[in-house]
């Protein structure tokens, strides 16, 4: 006979505001098999947990149902509490009264009735729960960091400094990411490259870090502590061991008119190239899409000029297979590209540029050596307009969110412009100034008060060219919505920060969740900001949402600590929620008939054949067997088995059947 305890949480007022918690507890107390029921303000708090623990001990409970928030939030908390009181943790289930009831329905009879139903369903399920023991698995203490921007660099260095091995992969020829493209950084105006390049060099020289530039993730298998990863190392067409990085080849390459990615198309590069002078590794790659030899079969000038014969035209991509214990995703973000703003003429008017392009114009290492000159004719713009929220906070264009970093970099851009172009006039069209951060607001005030940047509150409707000027049709909403037209020489769009175009595919490869905008999803918005829903995979930087440098760096260090925590253990425990093939007394041994159709249904190749032998060693029956190390507990085999011979612990036939029965019996 079951003795089940039901613990109904008010979650402050989050649940009790619309659900009559006392009635839920009272009604549940009358259910068959329920020995104790109570409601309490905060069940997850210390006194709340003590309430559960003492009830388990005093009433000798055999099962526990906590009716509170989502099990995805607190199931581990309450299972741990049960274990501490001596009850097997898998005898505890949660009814989701907050996310699935109180937060989504109005106060009323029907809402409380639903809460009671959910509790009853779980009470019935718990009756069929079984004590289970956690599974132990070993840990491979090497981390994979994907993406070599500032977040990936920081995470790699931090993990490497705890004494663990790191493999850092970067899809471009050099690490550095967007930060290496920036001119100065807010709110201090220190030079981006000056603070970044020492870190890049440290990565290259660190004994614990293996850097694979020009490499991408091919595939991932396995699970926390035990990933098997394939890395595609794209052919650089050079012998990296031989190449000294002298750069002779890049000066002699005849294909010189390729828009430089590093300079955001404002400068050119050659087909064999190093993206920028401070690149790490500082060795060239051949861009096969533009190289004359690969296109036409002739040229090979670089090969002729190379003093140490390091060019390898026939080099092929290689696949590196590595065993990994944890993964940090630090793949960063992109900015929206042309044709997204037809009303602003981006892509049509050369002097309408993006913020990232402005960074290159303002950078001492950029195409204009830091002078603000407009792309069309190289003139110094005397009137410049900065448009905030170009794409961001624009639901109609599919980007309702705030890109967060633009308010600050616009202030920086306007400030840099005023510093560099004396007598120039700058305008910022903005809707709100979001400058929450240490010394951020002060920085914006400085731009307005000391550098004389004209901030106009309103959005720009259209930009068009007239007699060599860019007419910016805006509005000043603080002047009773007065239309404002400005004749500008150059316009800078604070383009929205968006997820990389391959983010979705990468997320699918790794089985991590992503949001509606393809940014990777954290496991909990507050308490698990660097974890993903897939154990052992962590997030750092702007791949999770647009963020600035200090935030990316702190997040990277946070992810690194999570990896270090994981690597501090030699073994991990895993939930035993896995499939099991039933066993029976001889001569049947199992209801499994060995058709093995489950084998192809299993996504993890976790089902094997097991031979039952008699004393003479003859095979008398062949059955399916689930390898507990490989099974991840999806249950695809369970629903497929005709004889119901496989069952899934934690979600057994009896448990699920009972839930459905309980669901409707007293609906």
């Amino acid at each position: 006979m079951s003795k089940i305890g039901v613990f109904v949480c008010h979650c402050g007022e989050n649940i009790s505001a619309t659900v009559d918690c006392a009635r839920v507890a009272e009604t549940s107390g009358k259910l068959d098999g329920v020995a104790y029921s109570v409601d309490y303000k905060y069940m997850c708090s210390d006194p709340g947990q003590s309430l559960i623990k003492s009830a388990i001990k005093e009433k000798g409970l055999t099962g526990v149902v906590v009716a509170a928030c989502s099990p995805r939030m607190h199931e581990p908390t309450f299972r741990k509490a049960c274990a501490e009181a001596g009850l097997n943790p898998y005898m505890c289930e949660m009814a989701n009264l907050r996310e699935h009831v109180s937060w989504v329905h109005e106060k009323g009879e029907a809402t409380t009735e639903k809460a009671i139903d959910l509790v009853r369903i779980l009470v019935e399920k718990v009756k069929y729960n079984q004590s289970l023991n956690a599974i132990k698995v070993p840990v491979t203490k090497t981390a994979l960091v994907i993406g070599g921007g500032i977040a990936g660099i920081q995470a790699s260095l931090d993990i490497a400094n705890t004494g663990h091995k790191v493999i850092l992969i970067e899809k471009d020829p050099s690490i550095g990411g967007h930060m290496s493209q920036l001119s100065e950084t807010f709110p201090t105006l220190d030079c981006s490259q000056c603070i970044l390049t020492p870190r890049m060099v440290e990565v290259a020289q660190h004994p614990n870090i293996t850097l694979y530039s020009y490499a991408e993730l091919e595939s991932v298998e396995g699970f926390i502590g035990n990933f098997k990863v394939k890395i595609r190392r794209k052919s650089k067409s050079i012998d990296e061991k031989l190449c000294t990085g002298c750069g002779l080849c890049t000066t002699k390459c005849p294909v010189k008119k390729i828009p430089s990615e590093f300079n955001e198309g404002l400068g050119m590069r050659t087909a064999i190239y190093v993206p920028f002078p401070q690149a790490v590794p500082n060795k060239p790659v051949i861009d096969r899409e533009h190289c004359t030899y690969y296109l036409k079969g002739k040229c090979r000038i670089c090969e002729k000029v190379c003093p140490i014969q390091a060019i390898r035209f026939d080099q092929e991509d290689t696949i590196e297979e590595v065993e990994i214990g944890a993964i940090v995703l630090a793949t960063g973000f992109s900015v929206k590209q042309p044709d997204f703003f037809p009303e602003y003429g981006y892509g049509k008017y050369p002097d309408v540029i993006t913020g990232l392009q402005f960074e290159r114009l303002a950078s001492a290492s950029g195409p204009t050596l830091g002078e603000i000159r407009r792309p069309s004719d190289g003139k110094v713009p005397q009137n410049i307009v900065f448009v905030a929220c170009a794409g961001s906070r624009d639901e109609a264009k599919g980007i309702p969110y705030c890109s967060k970093i633009c308010c600050m970099y616009i202030a920086k851009h306007a400030m840099l412009y005023q510093h560099k172009v004396h007598g120039g006039k700058s305008y910022v069209f903005y809707m709100d100034i979001r400058a929450g951060g240490k010394n951020y607001e002060e920085f914006v005030r400085r731009a307005i008060e000391e550098d004389g940047v004209n901030y106009v509150r309103g959005r720009v409707s259209r930009i068009y060219e007239k007699n060599g000027k860019l007419i910016v049709k805006g509005v000043d909403t603080l002047l009773g919505a007065m239309p404002v037209d400005i004749e500008a020489d150059m316009v800078v769009l604070a383009t929205a920060g968006v997820a990389n175009s391959d983010a979705e595919a990468l997320a699918q490869k790794l089985h991590v969740s992503y949001d509606a905008y393809k940014f990777f999803a954290e496991a909990h918005p507050k308490l698990k900001p660097v974890e993903t829903n897939t154990a052992g995979i962590f997030l750092a930087g702007a791949c999770q949402s647009p963020r600035d440098i200090p935030e990316s760096v702190s997040m990277a260090s946070g992810a690194a600590v999570k990896v270090a925590c994981l690597f501090s253990q030699d073994e991990l425990t895993r939930d035993p929620l896995i499939a099991v093939v039933n066993r029976m007394a001889p001569p049947v041994y199992s209801s499994c008939v060995g058709c093995f159709l489950c084998v192809s249904a299993c996504p993890y190749q976790a089902i094997e054949k097991e031979e039952i032998k008699n004393r003479a060693g003859e095979v008398i029956k062949t059955l399916a067997r689930v390898n507990p190390g490989l099974c991840q507990g999806c249950g695809t085999c369970v629903a497929f088995c005709r004889t119901k011979s496989i069952d899934l612990q934690g979600y057994t036939h009896e448990q699920m059947y009972t839930e459905v029965m309980a669901l409707l019996n007293e609906y």
């Binding site: 209801s591 008939v593 060995g594 159709l597 005709r642 004889t643 059947y657 009972t658």
Partner: protein, 266 residues
Amino acid sequence: MDELIKRAKELLEAGTVKVVIGYENGSADKTRALFAIEPKDADKLIFDSRCVMNLATYITKAEVKGKGKMAITATLPVMRAIIQLASEFQVNDSNLLVLGITPESKMIEFKDLAEVEAFVHKYTIEIEAKYSEKLEKLDKMTPSERWSFWIEELSPCFKCYACRAACPMCYCHKCTVEFNQPQWIPVPSHDLGNLEWHMMRAIHLAGRCIDCDACYNACPLGIPLNLLTKRMLIDAKEHFGGYQPSIKADHLMSTYKPDDKDNFIM
């Protein structure tokens, strides 16, 4: 079928096989299964148009299998069943020899099951016209009419399980209906239980049924339950390009294609 008798005798005499499964004359002008163990038993072997029972049903039975290597008189449906069973690891070359009978009533002895498979693949499974018409008629009905049709048709069923016994694919030691923790299918012969039993049987045969109609032929009440499996056969063809029993290929329902149709999914 002198040739068949002769070969069966040889096999038994030589000890190549321990049992030859075939047809013999039964009562009331019907045929029944023959299990020839002694060479002389083989004299009773017959083959004619009355021999429609699917003998493959027996090759998974412990009583038959336990005797040692089997030889079987196999018409096309029987051969199909054998291949399906081989793909489900229930029979293999070491325990079965096939004495095939072609649709032209000629005997061929197959070297191994791979040869049987090649032979079977020469013929695709086609739904007979009389059934296509019935299915079409049902398709034209409203769902409510179909519901009444089936409730009425299935209502007399008293769960004798003759259909299951006759089906070569129903070889499980413990059928879902015998699973009582939980009791998936209600035990009494009640409309609901009947419905669930036949639905479950049909879906378990999806991608496996070789359309031999043995179930229908065995049903004492003449319930047209083979319409259900035929429907599954048509669906398999329409949605997934159909299937042929094949020893090595993945099973239709335990695999998927990333572009399986999902226009019904919101």
